[in-house]
Symmetry: C2
Subunit: 431 residues, 2 copies
């Protein structure tokens, strides 16, 4: 862990401390992904089979999960885990449903009605990774809002295990959230299949979910090609903790380690105005680290972590807004009083009893969030991510009489005769 005193750094050094590792995709990753996508487009299921065998060491007889495998998954998952998923899904549903966009209508002039209608995106594709471990929680985070939006078809891809089966907990999560079809496909090949379609896999309008560098690069490439929209750009997971003198060092250390165990490239920052707290957190991290099964991964991430002593909490919020973290933990005595200072972050955790893990799993908020500073201009996944907002207008004869002149003046100013004519013709008839 690197310890810094913010005010002692010059501007360049400050920028350096907040610099994320360059996320530029290696040219060879980009080329490899392009090759995989081209193969899937050209050869469909044949290519999927060959690529799966090459990368996953297995090519299931059928990519699609059938009823027997779903039934087996229900048996394989413990009652405790199933209940945890049911409970988490229920809270995710409550929070997401309460924030759903509504249609509305207003009269903007006499006889001119403008409205918004909300429609589900037709077919969506969810990606649920299973790299170091399967992530049933991600299936819940994507499945619940897709179901609330009412998408006609929800497709989910998740990598096959060595024996060709899918992770049972992911399958149970998919069924709990009404996912229509699940395919045992991982990596760039899964993204290509969902974007362009094959005989087995239907082409989807929008793709969602986290993944490794191949998955995220594939999402970028299919989005650029116009084949499918994507939820957001993705990078390694991040946490920034702002802690005051009253914070519990063991809690803060546990939160930093939660982030660090995600992967060696996870980003971990602590900002505090109390030097003693900083030192205590540092000590606690060492104590807790030793006990973790993923200690090696976490230790690697911690090498790049920053523990920063700031002059004041106000300064901490300035730094946080500049960094725009995916997760922001406010380990403060009066966290709600500071919330108004937060300008850019994915998800915020208030107070000592709200570890990030609650949001990762079951508080009700979404854990698919903007990383790498994208929180400056992107929001996390919500029901709106699965919807189209369509604007609608209707003018009566009175309506076009009221605003037609305005439209004609603007059309003339822009030199668009046919636009003016389309209005003028109606105004003559309406008059």
């Amino acid at each position: 862990m690197n310890v810094q005193q913010w005010s002692a750094l010059d501007a360049d050094a400050q920028a350096q401390v907040l610099q994320r590792p360059v996320q530029a995709v290696a040219a060879r990753t980009s080329e490899a992904v392009a090759g995989l996508i081209a193969a899937v487009r050209a050869d469909g299921d044949v290519a999927l089979r060959e690529i799966s065998l090459r990368f996953d060491g297995v090519a299931p007889a059928s990519f699609e999960v059938g009823e027997a495998e779903f039934a087996a998954a229900e048996q394989a998952v413990s009652a405790e885990l199933r209940q945890a998923m049911v409970d988490a899904a229920a809270r995710i549903r409550v929070f997401h449903q309460a924030g759903m966009s509504q249609g509305y209508a207003v009269e903007t002039a006499p006889g001119v009605r403008c409205e918004r209608v909300v429609r589900p995106i037709g077919r969506v594709g969810l990606y649920v990774p299973a790299g170091s471990a399967p992530l049933p929680s991600t299936a819940l985070m994507l499945g619940v809002p897709a179901q609330l939006a009412g998408c006609r078809e929800v497709v989910l891809c998740t990598p096959p295990r060595k024996d060709g089966s899918a992770d049972p907990a992911v399958l149970v999560a998919a069924r709990l959230t009404g996912v229509h079809r699940v395919f045992k496909l991982g990596g760039a090949q899964a993204i290509a299949a969902m974007a362009y379609g094959t005989d087995s896999v239907p082409a989807c309008d929008k793709l969602f979910g986290p993944g490794n560098s191949f998955v995220t690069e594939a999402k970028q490439q299919v989005a650029r090609d116009g084949a499918a929209a994507i939820d957001m750009p993705a990078g390694p997971s991040e946490v920034l903790v702002i802690a005051d003198a009253g914070a519990n060092p063991a809690f803060v250390a546990a939160d930093l380690l939660s982030q660090a165990e995600h992967g060696p490239d996870s980003q971990v920052l602590l900002l505090t105005d109390d030097a003693a707290l900083l030192a205590q957190v540092q000590a606690q991290v060492q104590v807790q680290l030793a006990r973790l099964s993923r200690a090696a991964i976490a230790a690697q991430a911690l090498q790049a972590s920053q523990l920063i002593l700031v002059d004041s909490l106000a300064q901490a919020f300035q730094i946080s807004n500049r960094y725009a973290p995916e997760h922001l933990i406010l380990a403060l005595r009066a966290p709600r009083d500071w919330l108004a200072q937060v300008e850019a972050a994915g998800s915020v955790f208030l107070g000592d009893y709200t570890p990030e893990a609650l949001g990762d799993y079951c508080s009700g908020t979404n854990h698919v969030l903007p990383t790498a500073g994208a929180a400056r201009a992107y929001s996390g996944v919500s029901v709106a991510s699965f919807q189209n907002l369509i604007s609608v207008q209707s003018a009566t004869a009175q309506g076009i009489a009221a605003i037609g002149g305005c439209a004609r003046t603007l059309a003339r100013a822009e030199g668009l005769d046919a636009h003016e004519n389309a209005v003028a013709l109606r105004m003559e008839v309406a008059a």
Copy 2:
């Protein structure tokens, strides 16, 4: 204009008819844009000056519009045009304000509060083209929602005229909507400047607005690089009209021509279940075309246009949803009855007295809309496009007691010890 009978076509021919021209950017455009962006990143204002001189034939002494030029613009714009912009802005404001996202909070378990807070994106960059004509309406369409969102700084770039000044109507529109700074910069160089910043131009978090192929390619490149978010991918403008036997052929023809005059690559489709109406529209297009100042452009676009005879209006809506047009005009006797059939479109125009031009200028809806089929998964610009939605959670000791067990079970299932530990530590203290 190409006339088709839908049911007489096989599946391939149907796909062909709905095929948009390939929007793949020529490799040399992509390379040229990359070169321009690299130059602006390396040499800042010096590069902007050189590139502006090369492409626009002028490099203003100061890129930024000063008070004197704003004052001169107010004098140069006619009272009629100014009033039209004031009126249009007022209606755009009414419609957009009514649809603004609201924060909300719900208790998802005893002692667990989840909420959404809404924050303006800090600094946004608006691009207002001035290719064949300046587009003050676009300044209104972007400036009003940016102002409603409350963005800290709204920057606008628009190409300089030959004499080095900016279009006065665009400047008046910018001032009417509270734009903070206007720069006389066009093309890929404007996008590069707003994404990366130069001594003159501040770096923006998100870029908005239409433009030519250089502008749209530059937006894609800076978004891919993570330098700035963008509103949506962009292609040539499009209209699809669904007309019944009772439609007015002159109105329909005028709407098709409104779209066609935008540019030679504009997409124009008519779907009708009445052969007589189709023939009448065809005749009317010829009559009206002759009178247009932009007849040459429109005629070129019409060469690729499709007039399609369908078996039924229901079939027309299936085709429309598949195509997902930017603009959808329902020239029907009972258009509202059909609205529920619309699954994907940017903006919908109901009935004989609602030409697309109303939405382009002053009904109140936005005219920055998804093209090229993007309406299947993207929505038009709204206030939400200028906002971040941040989720917030707070648990009390009671709260973590209520849901901590659920989080621990899921963390264990995913093999994430540190996540479990972060929850367990709190539960011990809270108990």
